[in-house]
């Protein structure tokens, strides 16, 4: 339900968010206009950037309507509730997910420095160990108590996920426990 609460900052109203998006859209359009491929004509006479430019222009028009439309002073309850630290919390959660992925899959994204760090961390590329660690810590940080419940849930869920993917035939990274059980897929 949208509300027009003046107590929330302007930046969190439809107009405020749209103003930020207009700047971003203009930047995107400027970038696209500077690209050669946008004007490149194909053998059928179609310009390669036609749909990309149409989509960027429609985005700009829609954001423009939001900026000046009748609901410009309104805000969504979620936007009214969100603080800067909440966005940071979301980004932090994503970074933790990325770290979990890098550790559990031994992924280095072709970066030497990531590979160097992974070389000194034990059990990298061990799906079960890192999934247990991630799930247990995630549950504990979010407030599951007692800690033993978080550990138990983390261990059980990790094994269930591992078993489920094994059953379907999807490869998961090698595991010390998996090797012991003779089930490691990769």
């Amino acid at each position: 339900m949208a509300s027009s609460d003046r107590s929330v900052g302007w930046l969190r109203t439809n107009q405020g968010v749209a103003a930020c998006l207009v700047v971003a859209m203009l930047g995107l359009l400027g970038y696209l206009l500077s690209q050669d491929w946008v004007y490149q004509q194909q053998r059928d006479g179609f310009r390669l950037g036609f749909f990309t430019m149409v989509s960027a222009l429609v985005m700009l028009v829609c954001v423009g309507f939001t900026l000046i439309g009748k609901q410009k002073d309104q805000t969504t309850p979620e936007m009214a509730r969100m603080r800067g630290k909440d966005w940071l919390r979301g980004i932090a959660a994503l970074l933790i997910m990325l770290v979990y992925y890098v550790l559990a899959w031994d992924a280095h994204f072709s970066q030497d420095w990531v590979r160097a760090i992974l070389n000194v961390i034990p059990f990298t590329g061990d799906f079960l160990i890192w999934t247990v660690v991630f799930l247990t810590m995630g549950m504990a940080v979010l407030g599951v108590r007692p800690i033993t419940s978080a550990i138990t849930a983390g261990v059980i869920v990790s094994f269930v996920i591992f078993g489920l993917f094994l059953l379907i035939g999807i490869d998961l990274p090698q595991s010390v426990i998996g090797q012991l059980l003779g089930t490691s897929a990769v």
């Binding site: 909440d86 994503l94 997910m97």
Partner: protein, 523 residues
């Protein structure tokens, strides 16, 4: 005309232990997903989609359609038990369902919810099976320009009917189109819009996109919610206490039959709403509930009556089959779930659309059989385990969030064993969080993303046929002109009459119902 050979093949494919097992697993997971507040059918299907590419066609469809059917019904379980609808489409069920629960008639409410859901779902599936092939025959007569305009019309309809703000709906659609142009173009395979990143050369894969937008975005929103609303520490011990303990008065066959009028209203409204792009099961449930209430004032729906539960549940489950009609007949998904089922078909090598009836009749018949069979599984699993699922609704988000996030990473990676897909999924997670926070509907983004290559192919084919003449391409027939006028008219009406705002009032009713129920519960 029924292709009997294909039908026999489909029967042989579907009636195997393997496929039946996956339908049962789908329904079992689906009812659980629906019963857990915070998880929706779309989130569940987005998470399961990466698993389907290793399965055969029938098993993959069985898992996803079973999950969809189960999740739509499952939302009613926690709506009745705790006045906390597991999904927004079950919010209308709270009005009467929870009042029945408070009067000690929870079992009766759960049973009528199940029977009304399955009855309306089954009958709407039959209607889907009858209508989709007929519409596909019409769609086969369309040329490239008619198909192009039909896609534009569907996108405009989605923008007008999804969410509370037409501009936001169209913004979402334009974002989908933009993302869809990243990578090689669909006709000449020339890379474009890659921001000079080599790993974007193949474009954005569908799986990391949907998992990021729907699953990761939803979980990030939960994390933010948990931090803004003061959370008490969750003790897991009590959750499993009281399983199977729900007793009370059951439902007689006479009582079930007494709800025929409300189930019929739900069937009619749900089937119609399901076929229209952009509306969805929440609108189906609330419209059906509202009409049933006005049609029979003497029944006092809203005061804790089984007829109210029947109308709401029939209304939302009747959208399940019909939501696939635009996908199968025209190749245009009308909802996020239809888009994901369309994506599953694409992963299996079958592009949804009217030609699918000619090219892949076995898959079509398998889909129809699974739609019908899924109802019997829903009935059996819902009947036996509803009371266990009622307790699952108490599973705290503190446990759920890390599990779903972990599954999202596994799903994004497993699809193509590509590490960049995980990064893409995480980036779209934050995009999904922004869209939820700013209330930009996600469905138009996914649907336009799927339609973008088809729209480009059709336009370019039309240009080739008409030797580069744009006017001749876009206005090649009276039907194409009619569709173009419909696009302009729809855009004008949407902006002037603010249709999306009116549709969002229905969603607001859902929120108000939820808030009222929570307040009642607290008091």
């Amino acid at each position: 005309m029924i292709n009997m050979d294909a039908l026999y093949d489909a029967i042989a494919l579907v009636f195997t232990w393997h496929t039946l097992m996956w339908i049962a697993i789908g329904v079992t997971i689906g009812v659980g997903v629906g019963a857990m507040p915070g998880l929706t059918a779309t989130t569940g299907i987005a998470l399961m989609l990466p698993l389907t590419f290793t399965m055969d066609q029938a098993a993959a469809l069985g898992l996803l359609i079973g999950l969809y059917k189960g999740a739509i019904y499952g939302g009613s379980i926690s709506a009745i038990s705790f006045a906390t609808p597991g999904t927004s489409e079950a919010a209308a069920t709270v009005f009467d369902g929870h009042k029945l629960m408070l009067r000690g008639k929870g079992k009766k409410a759960l049973l009528i919810a199940l029977y009304a859901s399955v009855t309306a779902d089954f009958l709407s599936d039959v209607i889907t099976i009858l209508i989709a092939p007929m519409l596909a025959l019409v769609a086969l007569k369309f040329g490239p320009s008619e198909r192009f305009w039909l896609m534009v019309l569907a996108v405009c309809l989605l923008g007008a009917l999804s969410g509370s703000h037409f501009a936001k709906g169209m913004l979402s659609a334009a974002m989908g189109l933009f993302i869809g142009t990243i990578g090689a173009d669909p006709v000449s395979s020339v890379p474009r819009n890659t921001f000079d990143l080599w790993w974007l050369g193949e474009g954005i894969h569908l799986i990391p996109l949907v998992v990021g937008i729907f699953a990761m975005g939803a979980m990030l929103e939960k994390i933010v919610e948990m931090s803004t609303v003061k959370q008490k520490v969750q003790r897991l011990g009590g959750t499993v206490k009281g399983l199977f303990s729900m007793g009370g008065e059951g439902l007689s066959f006479k009582e079930y039959l007494s709800c025929w009028k409300e189930i019929s209203i739900g069937l009619g409204v749900g089937t119609f709403v399901g076929m229209l792009p952009g509306l969805g099961s929440t609108v189906g449930a609330f419209l059906s509930y509202g009409i049933a209430k006005q049609a029979s004032p003497e029944k006092k729906i809203g005061t804790g009556k089984i007829e109210g539960v029947a109308a709401a549940e029939a209304g939302n489950n009747a959208t399940v089959g019909p939501t696939l009609v635009p996908l199968l007949a025209f190749g245009i998904p009308g909802s996020a779930v239809a888009a994901l089922i369309g994506a599953a078909l694409m992963l299996q090598g079958a592009t949804p659309g009217p030609r699918m009836f000619e090219l892949y009749p076995t898959i079509i018949y398998s889909l129809f059989l699974i739609l019908i069979l899924g109802n019997f599984f829903n009935l059996g699993i819902g009947r036996i385990f509803a009371f266990v699922y009622a307790k699952l609704g108490e599973l705290p988000p503190q446990v759920l969030v890390p599990i779903v996030m972990g599954m999202a990473v596994i799903g994004a990676y497993s699809y193509a064993n590509n590490e960049w897909d995980v990064l893409v999924m995480l980036v779209f997670g934050i995009v999904g969080l922004f869209m939820r926070t700013f209330r930009i509907p996600e469905a138009p983004l996914i649907i336009t993303f799927l339609l973008a290559p088809q729209a480009e192919e059709n336009l370019r084919r039309g240009l080739l046929i008409n030797e580069g003449d744009w006017v001749a391409t876009l206005m090649s027939s009276p039907l194409a002109i009619g569709l173009a006028i419909a696009v302009v008219a729809l855009t004008y009406i949407s902006t002037r009459m603010r249709i999306s705002e009116r549709m969002s009032e229905i969603a607001d009713d859902a929120e108000a119902a939820e808030a009222e129920a929570k307040a009642n519960k607290a008091s």
